[in-house]
Amino acid sequence: MFLISSFNFNSLKYFLYLILFTQSIFVFGQNKNKPDILFVKYLIDNEKYNDAFYEMEKAEKQTLNDTILYLKGYCFYKKNESDSALFYWQMLQQKTQLNKSSLLLSSLLFLNEKDLLNARKTIDEYSKLSLSDNEILLQKLFEVGFCLAQQKYVRADSLISNFKYDNYYVSDEENELKMLCGRMKKNKQKSPFIAATLSTLIPGLGKIYAGKNGGGFGAGIICALLGAVAVESAIKAGVVSAPFFLSAGLFSAFYIGNIVGSYYSAKQKNNEKYREDYNYILRTLVVATERQFGSN
């Protein structure tokens, strides 16, 4: 009896050791292979994207899950490396929350690269998923952003008329896009041809029309002075003389240069305005998207 009980006790002891050993393998193995997501997010929040990526890379491939893929893509998104971000986000499973977030962020990356077509396609893909109320509001915000970026004000107006401004997540951005739309409609494009014509009539006037007052006045004064030099040369040395040819040539070069300059000034002014408005749209959409999604 004693022998039997002793035998049972020993086998039980060994059995317990075996359980402890297998459990410890499991626990340690898990710690080694799984990246610490909370810590990764902390690194991302502190703009240490390379360190966050390194932390995730330490994990074995079998442990690759949607969160890691999303966060890897997010590191590249933050570094503005769209190709790498899209590479990881394309591997995400469809119809998940992370997939939705990645689609919105991908659209922002395309917008940043001025690729409106792909940005819109991505949002279309996003709209096909089952979306919550907040997510639908975000989608509408993107649609208004696209219309404004393409300067389609009528469509933008009709979409803006559906804004309710009663949801914390997007109300500020709805207001901002509404104000931007009003501002963009008021901004009249400067015609490069009008600018060139005005500069032909009065040197410098084209640049003033294009909004470059200082440059316009400067060009006008220089043209007038060079003209005065040419007139003086004509009076003193005659029309067929080297001083006149030289001064008249200089004046002509400056005069024609000013006309061409006015043409491009108007074009540049239009581009500057558009770039400014475009960046405003992008910034508004980034803020709204990151408020809802971001690294979380």
Binding site: I37, F39, P243, S247
Partner: protein
């Protein structure tokens, strides 16, 4: 994930230290950052921050080290840790060429006054920072204070103090150019601002252009082409003069930077030499 306050947390610090010990600084820096994130107390966080900055220093990533130290929280940490943090921060800022920040950290270190020995031991760092800020008189005083604190024989200390006194004499100090003087010269004497900054070729070209413009004005006025003389001649002269004045900022900065480099290098080398000599003492 490491539970806060657990033994795993302590193990992680030990793990980071072990990585640091075998010169795996990048891995160590990540582990230290993990410790910062999971720290249970302000002290733990402070120690991990200092170690993370040290790892970045060893990786020659000075900007990152400086940035890490900027996030150091001084509230509720012991004086000894605060002193070490100030010294490390000052070093990181100095190496990241953020000299004002480096000096500010050193001033705050002196303000603590609780560990004057550690402050005095690191006075050479303050001298190096002051040298970079072109405050040579103060740097000389700091170096002498540093040497006077050595636990060495008088002969050794005297020889070092003599070296410093000689190095910081007016003749041996880098002769810096004054921006005001350069602008005055460029305004009134064509090309002389450039010559003052030892940009001889550029000065010669500038002088030639300005003299040509003024000659043109003279000739035009002589032949009664008053408008041409004033508009073309004086207009060009004015442009060249303004260009030269505008350029003085860059040329003076470039000259001064190049002038202080060998001086600061020599002082730095001497400090390293002294540190090596000090070791067996």
């Amino acid at each position: 994930m490491l539970p806060k306050g657990s033994s795993a947390q302590t193990n992680s610090i030990k793990f980071a230290d072990s990585l640091f010990a075998v010169h795996k600084y990048y891995e160590a820096s990540i582990e230290y950052q993990r410790n910062i994130f999971y720290a249970n107390s302000v002290e733990e966080k402070a120690i991990a921050t200092i170690s993370a900055a040290k790892s970045s220093l060893f990786l020659n990533n000075f900007e990152d080290a400086n940035k890490t130290m900027k996030g150091f929280l001084y509230a509720n940490v012991s004086d000894s840790i605060a002193i070490e943090a100030r010294i490390i921060h000052s070093t990181c800022a100095y190496l990241a060429k953020d000299f004002e920040q480096a000096l500010s950290q050193f001033f705050q270190l002196e303000f603590l006054k609780t560990d004057t020995q550690k402050t005095t031991q690191n006075r050479f760092l303050k001298a190096l920072i002051l040298n970079e800020l072109k405050r040579f008189t103060e740097a000389e005083i700091e170096l002498k204070k540093w040497i006077n604190n050595f636990n060495a024989n008088t002969h050794f200390k005297d020889s070092l103090i003599n070296w410093i006194s000689e190095k910081y004499t007016k003749e041996n100090l880098p002769r810096l150019k004054s921006i005001r003087k350069a602008i005055l010269l460029a305004s009134f004497l064509p090309g002389f601002g450039h010559f003052y900054c030892k940009a001889y070729k550029e000065g010669a070209v500038n002088m030639l252009l300005m003299l040509s413009a003024i000659t043109f004005t003279g000739v035009a006025v002589y032949y009664t082409y008053y408008v041409a003389g004033v508009v073309v001649g004086y207009g060009l002269f004015n442009r060249f003069q303004k260009g030269a004045i505008h350029r003085m900022d860059f040329l003076v900065d470039k000259y001064n930077y190049e002038a202080i480099r060998p001086f600061n290098r020599a002082v730095k080398d001497k400090i390293i030499e002294i540190q090596q000599l000090k070791k067996p003492m």
